[in-house]
Symmetry: C2
Subunit: 454 residues, 2 copies
């Protein structure tokens, strides 16, 4: 029996009751398809010292530690493990500094992405990474999974916005990687190594992130309709080749359009529209819009609707933002996340539709297509229970195809435990050995989020 009484938290709290363990042990977004287990305890850390005390206690008692942010993982990265302690960081939610003169912010890991962005905008800056979970996911979790989003197209994933990290290592020590400079060549880049490591190498307790000035001028936002998803994918590739450098290129298939119309009472698909593009150009460049319109028409766009009006811009972007809720209105969504070489986009979209038809799956095909990043999500009407066999087959064949065309089975959501089985299919054995050795360097006792990521 673990003697929890000997764990001294300077500022935080420990919960041992079943209700809290059940609530924080479960991962909201994957609980239906992962085995439910109760962690032994949940720690609510309020300070770096709490994190250090927890990790040291876990090391001394050989207990697994699951770092947890805002509980929005969709690959089971942060749910409790049997016999583990869940280390919840959501109370460490202070923006410690916003420094416009350095174009950086310093934040605790529990700060929500949307909150940081809102604060930054008040001084003329923005925080670029914008995962779909932006209003509800935390910066710490975004860093742990190298989260992307719509703006990755122009501004990169979370990695491109993180300059420095404070990390509690598996021995309880706090270390600092990187800093406030935009370039840094002094050391092996351990900041980047931490990003996307899903809590398996250390616990992120502070981050220095880059803020960008809000671009000059009014963005142009548009909606374009295509006769087929294939043509839309070709259009995306052509826009990416045009030199316009748009800040958003989001695609939606017919199922997505129908789900949105039903959810919002809109009429996006009332004339049988098969595929939709949401795009934005965030610099008021002279020829950018006419170039994009010309490319879209060349690749079969039947209707293009553009605006600089703020109200209408919000409406168009809301289409994309609401797609998960629109899909989930029917039951639940099984969210996939792949990236492929840009030239394979149309082929992979076709394959996804073909497999959906073959296995009779309701496929919500959407994604950050300009990055080659697709979310082929399946709508299931049963809210609970294991994955239907046909759904599993859809996923298995699709991911195998993605690997075949040199894509990746995780683009921006991570591996967690849900995708662990796919890693050996994508990575060489020798790369996996190196990864295990790096894990061993950072976490010799194997207490940090074991079984996830690698």
């Amino acid at each position: 029996m673990t003697n929890w009484g000997s764990l001294q938290l300077p500022d935080g709290e420990i919960a041992l009751d079943e209700q809290t363990r059940a609530e924080y042990g479960a991962n909201d977004y994957t609980q239906e398809i992962t085995t439910k287990v109760l962690p032994d305890a949940v720690i609510f850390a309020s300070s770096i010292a709490d994190v250090q005390a927890t990790v040291k206690f876990a090391a001394a008692n050989q207990i697994a530690v699951v770092p947890q942010g805002a509980k929005t993982s969709i690959v089971n990265s942060a749910a409790g493990l049997a016999g583990s302690v869940v280390l919840n960081l959501s109370r460490m939610n202070k923006i410690l500094a916003i420094e416009p003169e350095n174009q950086v912010a310093i934040v605790q890991p529990g700060v929500l992405n949307g909150d940081l962005d809102t604060q930054a905008r008040q001084v003329g800056y923005f925080y670029a990474p914008d995962p779909g979970s932006k209003p509800i996911s935390s910066i710490g979790g975004n860093i742990a999974t190298n989260a992307g989003g719509m703006s990755s197209l122009k501004y990169g994933t979370t990695k491109q916005s993180v300059l420095g990290l404070k990390v509690v290592l598996a021995n309880g020590e706090v270390v600092t990687f990187g800093g406030k400079t935009f370039k840094n060549n002094t050391a092996y880049d351990l900041t980047d190594l931490m990003i996307g490591s899903e809590g398996t190498l250390g616990v992120i307790v502070e981050a220095t992130v880059r803020l960008l000035p809000v671009p000059l001028g009014q963005p142009v936002t548009g909606l374009a309709t295509f006769p087929t998803i294939h043509e839309l994918m070709q259009a995306v590739q052509a826009v990416q080749a045009s030199g316009v450098n748009p800040s958003m290129l989001e695609i939606l298939n017919r199922v997505s359009i129908e789900a949105l119309d039903e959810y919002e009472g809109s009429h996006l698909g009332s004339h049988g529209e098969q595929a939709l593009l949401v795009f934005q150009i965030d610099v008021a460049a002279a020829d950018a819009l006419s170039t994009v319109e010309q490319v879209l028409h060349t690749y079969g766009a039947t209707k293009i609707d553009v605006t600089e009006d703020q109200q209408r811009t919000s409406e168009i972007i809301k289409i994309r933002q609401d797609i998960f809720a629109a899909g989930a209105q029917y039951g639940r969504l099984i969210v996939e996340d792949v990236a492929v070489p840009l030239g394979q986009l149309a082929k992979v979209a076709d394959k996804a539709e073909e497999l959906a038809s073959k296995y009779d799956q309701r496929l919500l095909l959407l994604g950050h297509a300009g990055d080659g990043n697709l979310h082929p999500d399946i709508i299931l009407e049963d809210k609970d229970g294991a994955l239907p066999e046909e759904t599993q087959r859809f996923i298995d064949e699709l991911l195998a195809f993605v690997i075949e065309v040199k894509g990746t089975v995780s683009a921006e959501h991570g591996i967690g435990s849900l995708k662990n089985a796919w890693v050996p299919k994508q990575l060489d054995a020798s790369v996996r050995i190196l990864q295990k050795q790096i894990k061993q360097v950072f976490d010799p006792l194997g207490i940090l989020n074991p079984g996830r990521k690698i």
Copy 2:
């Protein structure tokens, strides 16, 4: 005695003669201030198999291997070590593929940066990283040092352009990290870990790099004159905050202006001009230019000269490109490379000028100021010999100050052996231990470029 006869190179050549060992053992850009040593052999690799054979032989014989590209290091990263074999990769200089549909190129490590860029532009793309050594440095070396350049301001350092790597490990095995996708979250990011590791973790034998479409429209390029370097630095910071997102913001101090005028017969400084800004805006955005002009005037610009003409654009950019040659006309340049938080730019520039004056050094102060990256270079009239004591003091006090304001002693040139002594002053002891452990994972025998970087 090493039995070189037992080293079988399938495609390459070995040179054991003193002349070749002297030529490739020396590092052109730092030889005057590093101890000259002869490596035992120089291998000219023509294939991955050659690299594997060399590394396996070195491992079996416990010989150090120094991977070497185009010999343009300025921190002594790739000169021969006593008892080592120099593994020169310059013959592996093929562009294996340019794939516009995927926006990638696949290259051997010896391909010169400028050659790749030229080839890419023929199909409407460009390779963004543009170190000052662009025409003469290799992609492999650029990756090994995470090279920057003028365009890092908008497009990031080399890291942002590298998607995948083939690497020969210290045991001779070839592994692949990353691939052709723009996002990839499957593994710990070993691609990024390799970038900037200066040949100490493996030998880069192939790279998949991202190409960007040439931006739409004619870039606007400009020259602006300032009464003081301090005001210029404030102007740079203000332009960076304006939301314009320029693609170039390069600064030059009075000594630089004088050197250029003498070298080129130009008249940049004939009215006593103290500080010069070279800038470029590569999207034809409506308000971008007027915004930049307004900001520059606010911060004291006395003259602004802008152009869209290609010939004049080349002339302006040549000013910046020629500055190293202009400085070197007097003897030699001791090149420094630091980055500081953006808000510290003016303070660090002032400090550099103050120290130059204190120690009577001729300071060529230039740099990619929008990135917070300065090159405070010293002109020495003696072409050879050890660093004068006063020059060393200038460097020591300046780097100490850079660390004090939370900057970094290497921004884009690497650490090599020349800056090794500064690493412990900048990094925590615990970070250095982690680095050594990672080195141990990749290179347990310690044969890869020992004594460099860490």
